[in-house]
């Protein structure tokens, strides 16, 4: 389903709101990851508000598209997007990572309706998503499988086992969205363990590859639409993103990968987001 300009504007504002939710959640939790969730706010907004076939009030609807979050540590962006989409009340967001909360530090199946699979240990969501896509193919089901992976996650061999398998089985109902933000805990990915040429690797493994600006709603939507029309091949959308997007002092800084802002930093972060007035359309703007 393609997208109109008016809706793009609306989703950009929603992504900014979700970024503000994320900052609030992380401050309340006192721990968690900042850069990844902020960087993927546009992708998750596009997924939950345009791309996915889903029913927030019926999370177990059997015909729903499946969204597997393989890099479970960026779950604040998924939680905030789900709350904004109507899966659960917004006030639950402040319970991130707290005792008894459905919003576990890493997402857990069974704790929060709408979470398709437990994740955290990297690489595992890739195989689970492939297994789901295979089940849909065996049953000739119409639902599609989307999996969000981080770039650093591709250092796990399991990802490539899954990528090899998916191509072998012609899983055209499967789309990977890779958060190519170039950072991981210990530093830039290309310093820690180079991933490039990432797109060429997927091509060599038999996938259809699309590279986009991961902050451009139109490009995200159009890439997922293109994936639907690729036959006999799974598609990977490599989403080039800025880690910490929207919060000037977090952007591009790998030190913000795994820590939350304190109260003062959060005030500054929210100020930074509000001055953007929801007008994020491209990292180059």
């Amino acid at each position: 389903m393609l997208i109109h300009e008016a809706k793009i504007k609306r989703l950009e504002r929603m992504a900014n709101t979700i970024r503000q939710d994320i900052v609030g959640m992380l401050v309340a939790a006192g721990s968690g990851h900042s850069a990844g969730p902020l960087g993927m706010a546009d992708v998750f907004t596009a997924l939950y508000f345009h791309i996915l076939h889903h029913k927030p009030k019926s999370p177990s609807w059997t015909e729903r598209d499946r969204l597997v979050l393989s890099c479970g540590h960026i779950c604040p962006v998924r939680y905030a997007s789900m709350a904004r989409a109507g899966y659960f009340p917004l006030k639950t967001l402040k319970d991130l990572r707290s005792f008894g909360s459905p919003l576990q530090g890493h997402p857990e199946l069974g704790r929060l309706p709408g979470i398709e699979s437990t994740s955290g240990p990297l690489g595992q969501g890739s195989s689970i998503a492939v297994g789901m896509a295979l089940a849909a193919q065996m049953d000739a089901a119409a639902w599609r499988v989307y999996a969000v992976l981080s770039d650093g996650e591709h250092q796990e061999g399991q990802v490539w086992e899954a990528v090899m398998f998916a191509a072998n089985k012609n899983l055209s109902n499967l789309t990977f969205l890779v958060d190519r933000n170039n950072i991981q805990i210990d530093g830039p990915t290309e310093t820690v363990m180079p991933l490039e040429p990432l797109g060429a690797k997927y091509v060599a493994f038999g996938w259809h590859v699309i590279e986009i600006d991961g902050h451009n709603i139109r490009e995200i939507v159009e890439a997922c639409e293109e994936a639907k029309h690729v036959s006999e091949k799974p598609t990977v959308v490599i989403c080039h993103t800025v880690p910490g997007r929207g919060v000037h002092f977090m952007e591009h800084n790998f030190l913000w990968h795994g820590i939350p802002p304190n109260a003062d930093q959060a005030r500054e972060a929210l100020g930074s987001l509000r001055t953007l007035r929801g007008k994020i359309t491209s990292e180059h703007e």
Binding site: R66, Q124, S127, G131, M132, Q158, A162, M164, F165
Partner: protein
Amino acid sequence: MSKNTTLNQKLFSPDVELIPTRNGYGDGLLELGKANPAVVVLTGDLAESTRVLPFSKAYPDRFIECGVAEQNMAGIAAGLALSGKIPFISSYAVFSPGRSWDQVRVSICINRANVKIAGAHTGVSVGPDGATHQALEDIAIMRTLPNMTVIAPCDYEETRKATRAAAAISGPVYFRFGREKTPVITTPKTPFAIGRAEVFQGGSDVTIFACGPLLYEALITARDLTKAGVSCEVINNHTIKPLDVKTILASVKKTRCAVTVEEHQIMGGMGSAVCELLGGRFPVPVEMVGMHDSFGESGTPAQLLKKYSMTRKEIKASVKKVLTRK
């Protein structure tokens, strides 16, 4: 000595049938394939030796060759299970769950995914392949995982039943087989239920808890000792998790001592599970027959079981020793 009339009547005869337990897996899967369209079978390049080849021919649309990639296979099975299938992962136990433990922990167990993991080639009796291929730690690494059921069937017939029973319960199951031909102890009439230990021979002086094909050695030893005046109770403790607390305690309250027998490290295996239970509920002397913190090596099954002290000789010595500790 009370006889269990449902057991193989040729149990103690020289011409007792010898069939590998893994064949029971293959035959059980064929029955399941017919009975339940949700059952799918995965293997990692080991279709023949895990005995899933007949299933792959009968139900090619439900057979998934994963190649040599056990971690991915565990995750794919989880994804299939979360989408309504009942996947059986078939490989050697040293690879699966040996190489895929984290995937079994997170993708299968935390998810409570309805995945069944069949570990072939367990114990030193794998033989000539040597230490790398002899799974002796699989029970330990599986039974520490919440939500996991762990079974070590004793023979062909029980493995066939365990395969069917695994599909009938919801949630992760691990079960293990041997490679070699081993005596057929049970019959289609022998009761089998996951979580229910069976008294295969009644006795009053000592309880021998055994699982897997070594149960046969326990039964032979018990027969000989009973003739010599030591009344041995032999319990087929096939389900290591959840343990049959009631049957185990009832027996030990009567005999007041126990010997455990398994082809697995004594650390973390079936015997450990029994000791954990008895330590908390009814402490009695226990002697353990199994692998004593060592890896195996190449050789014939008989040579290896002898070298690593898992024969009827050690079972008998353990019974005598535990009786002196009562």
